[in-house]
């Protein structure tokens, strides 16, 4: 299964995952109040009598930009594994939020995944499946470093030396 550690596979997967997250962030960034209303519908982080409105509003403001930053890093290939870890954590949060809404029988017409206007995509079982698939890609990118260039080995000092032709 060495192909699983091929640098090109990781690069392609990171660009794909990054593009999904960057695209997902755009309308939420453009329409924060619309996204805040969707966050309210989930009833996970408020608003409630105990929490008030601030946590849900701050989440609605910060989440899209986190998606955008992580998405851009994945596309650019900078901090790739860490950005994949952040995306994975976000997806775990989404799975918990959607799962708990389904469990509590909360009917969420628009999951707030890619659009924040109108009906959008229903928060249902298929959304959980889709999130889990993206999560698999995220964990794969976060966990597995790419195979080191087979023509090189890393010395303990971190300097690169060529093993071939070496006695």
């Amino acid at each position: 299964m060495t192909w699983l550690r091929h640098p090109l596979l990781h690069r392609a997967a990171a660009i794909g995952l990054g593009a999904v997250f960057l695209y997902a962030s755009l309308q939420k960034i453009a329409q924060p109040a619309d996204f805040a209303r969707i966050v309210y519908h989930y009833q996970v982080i408020g608003p409630s009598a105990r929490l008030g409105y601030v946590p849900a509003n701050v989440l609605a403001v910060a989440l899209p930009w986190t998606e955008a930053v992580a998405g851009l890093l994945l596309i650019a290939g900078v901090w790739r594994r860490e950005a994949a870890a952040v995306v994975s954590l976000l997806l775990v949060t989404f799975l918990v939020a959607v799962g708990s809404a389904l469990y509590r029988g909360i009917d969420i017409e628009n999951c707030g995944c890619f659009t924040v206007e109108g009906a959008g995509r229903q928060a249902g079982l298929w959304l959980l499946v889709g999130d889990a698939a993206l999560l698999a890609v995220g964990i794969f990118l976060a966990a597995a470093p790419t195979r080191a260039n087979p023509m090189r080995v890393e010395t303990p000092e971190g300097a690169l030396t060529a093993p071939l032709g070496h006695e």
Partner: protein
Amino acid sequence: MPLAWRRVIAIPVAGLVLGLAWNAWSGRGLALAGNAFVREGDAIEEIEVQEARARMEKGALVLDARPRDFYDMSHVPGALPLPEDDFDRAFASIEDRLRSHFDIIVYCSGYGCEASHIVARKLAGQRIRAAVLHEGWPAWTDAGYPVKEGPQP
């Protein structure tokens, strides 16, 4: 090679900082302490449950914006059903009573529920003023006020 956890933390922190900055300066932001169900241009009054009870005793009309099944299970005594998902039909059947009341209160299922704001907005479009009961049905039951079961008001 382990993950650089500082970077993992730095990414959402950057998201938070960028988000707050965008919210403050883009002109598209929302009031962080405010209720996003209340939209710009809305003139919807939100009242607490004690105020709602006091107004009812003075003859205010109460409307239930939840889906009809919820109303039939249990509702505020005297409330009329005006479900947001069936607004036009329900409105037509009670329009006369709505236009003969000056004090109208709408409620729905609480914090995560937008139906009472939507109904109040639609009523405003018909030139009927209605206040929204803050925290809706849970506030009413938590206060220990009476409820009525079945389809009759």
